[in-house]
Amino acid sequence: MTTETEEALGEGLADVIGVAAHQPTESVSLPQIDFSSFPNQIFWLVITLVAIFFILSRVALPRIAAVLAERQGIITNDIAAAQDLKQKAVEAEEAYEKALLDARADANRIVAEAKAEIQAELDVAIAKADAEIAAKAAEGEKAIAVIRESAMDSVKDVAKDAAKEIVAVLGGKADAKAVTAAVTARMKG
């Protein structure tokens, strides 16, 4: 019973793996050295190889080569373009730097000019102010001189009056001319 089941199992397995269960023993030997199948295999091999060769050499390989070449070309172009853009960027940066330097120089120049202008204006103004001050000072001195003059005159008058009074108090009769002469003489001395 067990043997039967096993046999059935064996047959089932043999069916599954594509083997006729009951085969004559002589065909169990190596199928690889069954020379009767050689012409068949070699015939189909030649046909297969020719088919593959034509598929490859006529369609597949040129197509893949073209795709690879195209990709290589695109990559090369892109790299060149990138190089170009980089160069441009560097140039732009340089131009920017130059513009910046120029602007800075301009600014410095303008500042210096403005400074010089202001200085000149300032100098003029100072000179003018100095002149005005000098004029005012001269005027003041003049006024002071006038005031001093008048003050001297007043002092003379006061001194004359005082001398006359002193002379009168002392009981003398003051001679106006003599007093004036005396005061003038004193004041000069």
């Binding site: 043999a14 793996i17 189909w44 190889l49 490859l56 195209e70």
Partner: protein, 255 residues
């Protein structure tokens, strides 16, 4: 019970279950037993699927010719760049001329290997008829290219000028032998790897029918499958790079 099962399995192992090589049998697709050279067989089917898969990847996948590739397109471009660079590195600039041929070989082998890993698939590259055909084609082309480019100067690859004079004849003998063994090793390496991996998976699969060891068997199948995925690519790579090496010998026979 367990012993009984094991005993049964062992008994059947000799009779029914263990047919790890049956997956490699070339069978006519539409009935009949005779495999004539023109018969449409499972070889035809899986080679046709290989062609369609290559067409899908390299033609349909690149149909948009997108500068920014889709996933399929980038896989196609990757394969292209991989082989192109391999030829350039190994065989030099003048090897680029043979790029479509080596690309054909590589794509055929890599797709056959991977398609062979599908369940129920037939692995065309596990047959020495196929790999031998490829290897002999490479061998003949390379020899013809060598003689065409350099005339009898091509024989310089057997005469190692750097070696001491006494050793040169011996080395020449070794070189000649190794040159003629090339197609053999070139083809058996690929077919052997493919056949062994698939056979081992099939053996483990047979053990999966036995309940007690089926978990281990399934783990083993998984591990083998992972290894086979690796091998599928590596063997295609090895085949292509060896082709490039042979091509380099033909283009530059002066060591």
């Amino acid at each position: 019970m367990a012993t009984e099962v094991n005993g049964d399995a062992a008994a059947e192992g000799t009779g029914l279950v263990f047919h790890p090589m049956d997956q490699f049998i070339v069978k006519p697709l539409f009935g009949g037993d005779v495999v004539a050279w023109y018969t449409v067989t499972n070889v035809t089917l899986w080679m046709g699927i290989t062609v369609l898969a290559i067409f899908a990847l390299l033609v349909l996948g690149t149909s948009k010719r997108a500068v920014i590739p889709s996933r399929t397109q980038s896989v196609g471009e990757l394969a292209y760049g991989f082989i192109y660079k391999m030829i350039e590195d190994v065989a030099g600039k003048d090897g680029i001329k043979y790029f479509p041929y080596i690309m054909t070989l590589f794509m055929f082998i890599v797709f056959s290997n991977f398609l062979g890993l599908l369940p129920m698939a037939f692995t065309t590259t596990s047959h020495i008829a196929v790999t031998g055909g490829l290897a002999v084609a490479v061998f003949l082309s390379v020899t013809v290219i060598g003689f065409y480019k350099h005339g009898f100067g091509f024989l310089n690859i057997f005469w190692i000028a750097q070696a001491p004079l006494i050793l040169r004849p011996i080395l020449a003998l070794i070189e000649v032998i190794s040159y003629f063994v090339r197609p053999l090793s070139h083809s058996i390496r690929l077919a052997g790897n493919m056949m062994a991996g698939h056979a081992v998976i099939k053996v483990f699969a047979a053990f999966a029918a036995v309940l007690a060891i089926s978990p281990f068997s399934i783990i083993a199948i998984t591990a083998m499958y992972a290894l086979e995925v690796l091998v599928a690519f590596i063997q295609a790579y090895v085949f292509a790079i060896l082709t490039c090496v042979y091509l380099k010998d033909a283009l530059h026979p002066h060591h």
